[in-house]
């Protein structure tokens, strides 16, 4: 029995602050796995990570070992990575290609769609035991693919994916429609790292415009300009200028629109100082977009957001062109997966620029992520202190413009998005989401 009934859970979340146990209590973490991660749609990755029949990759998601595989008929499958005989992990490699999966322990075999393919020496089983039994690799109760992104749910009774995403589905469309071919491709592998902090600290950070000028002070030069995160040489396409003039707090940040939708999803609109692209490469891009979309090209090319944060554990980052998966390992350990995505049909130079941008800012040696992770780790260890139980999120409280569908907007360095995530957390945890 959990120590947490709904009243106790509610007492952790106040309008302008949350209790430190929200981040540091292992019992809360276990409850989250059950009530949040087992009751929402989780992202596994993108189907282009396994382009060819027989391709597979493995990962641990919400503590579950899973395989994502492509069967010989090209269908994509998500399977639990667990032999139906005595439970051994079927695939041990992070990725690979296999005609079928064979368990190393006693040789039970499975097709790449998870169907049981047979056992060695079946005659010692009683008649019909193997043939009539269900020994297929177990599957998560729900799986959906939307525009190439692969999702699972660990519980049958989740809302449909489109209802879960709500207005955020349009954010996925906006991103994928930036590609002349209407598809994105994960063809450059991924970065993986870990930090000693709770997953929700990072989730909040993704909304946080209050921190860049302090946490990332070291990424700005003497003139106050942030290093150019990337650019295709001699071209504006793909250039990312996070801080225009000064690393100090300025009104441009405060004009930034932020907001969110039902079920804890949030977003930040495109930074006002982030200039429109131009240059010869970008003109070629515009031409391919016109060829592909005609009149819709200009609106499809528009980048609306800086990022879109899908509760509970992933985001699209438009400027660096990647998806980021936050994978909780324990109450004080979170794994991060960063998967750069290519806009299919766009000029190669734009992809190279995006890839370099990912290297520069979001590799484990990246000049942005290192400082973020340092800050999150400090939060986790600082919160262990006695004497103050509360973590404060009071900035611009009450300023949010809220509508009747659970959506809201606010501006700049407001902590409204984090507060929105706290409310969604509470509603999941109390069984109301």
């Amino acid at each position: 029995m959990s120590l947490y009934d709904n009243t106790t859970l509610e007492s952790l979340i106040k309008p302008d602050r949350v209790h430190k146990d929200y981040y540091i209590d292992p019992d809360i973490f276990e409850l989250e796995m059950d009530r949040i991660f087992s009751r929402s749609w989780l992202i596994v990755g993108h189907e282009s990570q396994i382009p060819k029949p027989g391709d597979f990759l493995t990962l641990t998601l919400a503590k579950q070992p899973v395989i994502m595989s492509r069967h010989r008929d090209n269908s994509v499958h998500v399977l639990f990575n667990r032999c139906t005989h005595r439970g051994a992990k079927i695939c041990n490699k992070p990725s690979g290609n296999s005609r079928r999966f064979e368990c190393p322990y006693h040789g039970w075999a499975f097709h790449t769609n998870g169907d049981h393919a047979g056992v060695p020496y079946p005659q010692r089983y009683s008649n019909g035991f193997i043939t009539d039994g269900d020994f297929d690799l177990p599957r998560p109760p729900r799986m959906e693919i939307y525009r190439g992104f692969v999702f699972i749910a660990l519980n049958e009774n989740v809302p449909e994916l489109s209802a879960f995403l709500g207005p955020m589905q349009r954010h996925i469309d906006n991103f994928v429609n930036l590609a002349p071919d209407g598809e994105v491709e994960a063809c450059a592998g991924m970065f993986r790292y870990r930090f000693a902090g709770n997953w929700k600290i990072q989730l909040e950070n993704l909304n946080d415009l209050y921190h860049p000028m302090f946490t990332h002070a070291s990424t700005t030069g003497e003139d106050g300009t942030q290093f150019r995160r990337q650019g295709a040489e001699g071209d504006e396409a793909g250039k990312v200028k996070l801080l225009k003039e000064n690393a100090s707090l300025n009104m441009e940040w405060e004009n930034q629109i932020i907001g969110g939708h039902a079920l804890g999803h949030t977003y930040m609109e495109r930074f006002p100082m982030d200039k429109e692209n131009s240059g010869p490469v970008f003109s070629r891009y515009r031409n391919s977009m016109k060829d592909a979309y005609g009149d819709a090209a200009e609106s499809n090319m528009k980048i609306h957001h800086h990022n879109s944060i899908f509760f509970p554990h992933w985001s699209i980052q438009y400027m660096t062109q990647h998806i980021r998966i936050m994978n909780p390992i324990s109450v004080d350990c979170t794994e991060n997966i960063i998967i750069p995505l290519k806009l299919k049909g766009a000029p190669e130079e734009m992809w190279y620029a995006a890839l370099k941008s990912n290297n520069n800012s979001h590799s484990p040696a990246g000049m942005v992520m290192a400082d973020d992770m340092d800050a999150w780790t400090r939060c986790q260890s600082g919160m262990q202190a006695q004497g103050n139980d509360w973590i404060v999120f009071a900035r611009s409280i009450g300023e949010e413009k809220i509508d009747n569908n659970g959506s809201f907007t606010d501006f700049g360095t407001s902590e409204a998005n984090a507060r929105h995530q706290h409310k969604a957390w509470l509603s999941y945890m109390c069984g109301n989401a």
Binding site: P94, C187, A188, G189, M190, F191, R192, Y193, R194, F195, F214, T215, A217, S218, T219, G221, F227, E335, I338, P340, W351, Y352, L355, K356, N358, N359, N360, S363, P364, A365, M367, M369, A370, D371, M373, D374, A375
Partner: protein
């Protein structure tokens, strides 16, 4: 030449351990680059992510950052020890003025009461200068290049 090359690689390693980052940066040729691939057997920096893929301009930015008073991820600073060994000159490549060198490297890093080690094979492409060499490229193939990392700040 073997011993001159070894001396150069030891010197390079010492510059990093002594946090003489600007001096290390100055070893690179104007068109030089520093590359730590993110995938094993990566043939091209553009077919996969890289942990570092810095041309000289980016390397300069990186080093300016390492000197920045508000570089929080270097508070406290890392202490490192770069070991260089198994130095071999590749006789099948290069010419009079350009030399290809294979070596292995182990970097141990100490920060916040934790000691971590990184190892891998290094490939230096060097150009002979009057009295020394300049680095056209340095590639470090970490054995854990596609593994799970914590933050990295000091080059290998």
């Amino acid at each position: 030449m073997q011993s001159a090359i070894e001396k150069f690689l030891y010197f390079e390693a010492r510059l990093l351990d002594e946090r003489r980052f600007e001096d290390w940066y100055n070893l690179f040729a104007e068109d030089g680059y520093y590359w730590v691939p993110g995938a094993p057997d990566q043939t091209d920096p553009y077919n996969s992510v890289s942990i570092f893929f810095d041309d000289k301009a980016l390397l300069k930015t990186r080093i300016m950052r390492l000197r920045h008073p508000k570089l929080h991820s270097q508070e406290p600073q890392s202490r490192t020890c770069h070991y260089v060994s198994n130095v071999e000159i590749d006789n099948n490549r290069g010419n009079g003025s350009e030399i290809f060198v294979h070596s292995v490297q182990l970097m141990t890093e100490f920060r916040l009461d934790k000691q971590t080690s990184f190892s891998g094979r290094c490939y230096h492409h060097l150009r002979t200068q009057k009295s020394s060499y300049e680095i056209i490229s340095k590639r470090v193939n970490l054995i854990n290049c596609d593994g799970i990392f914590e933050t990295l700040t000091i080059p290998f």
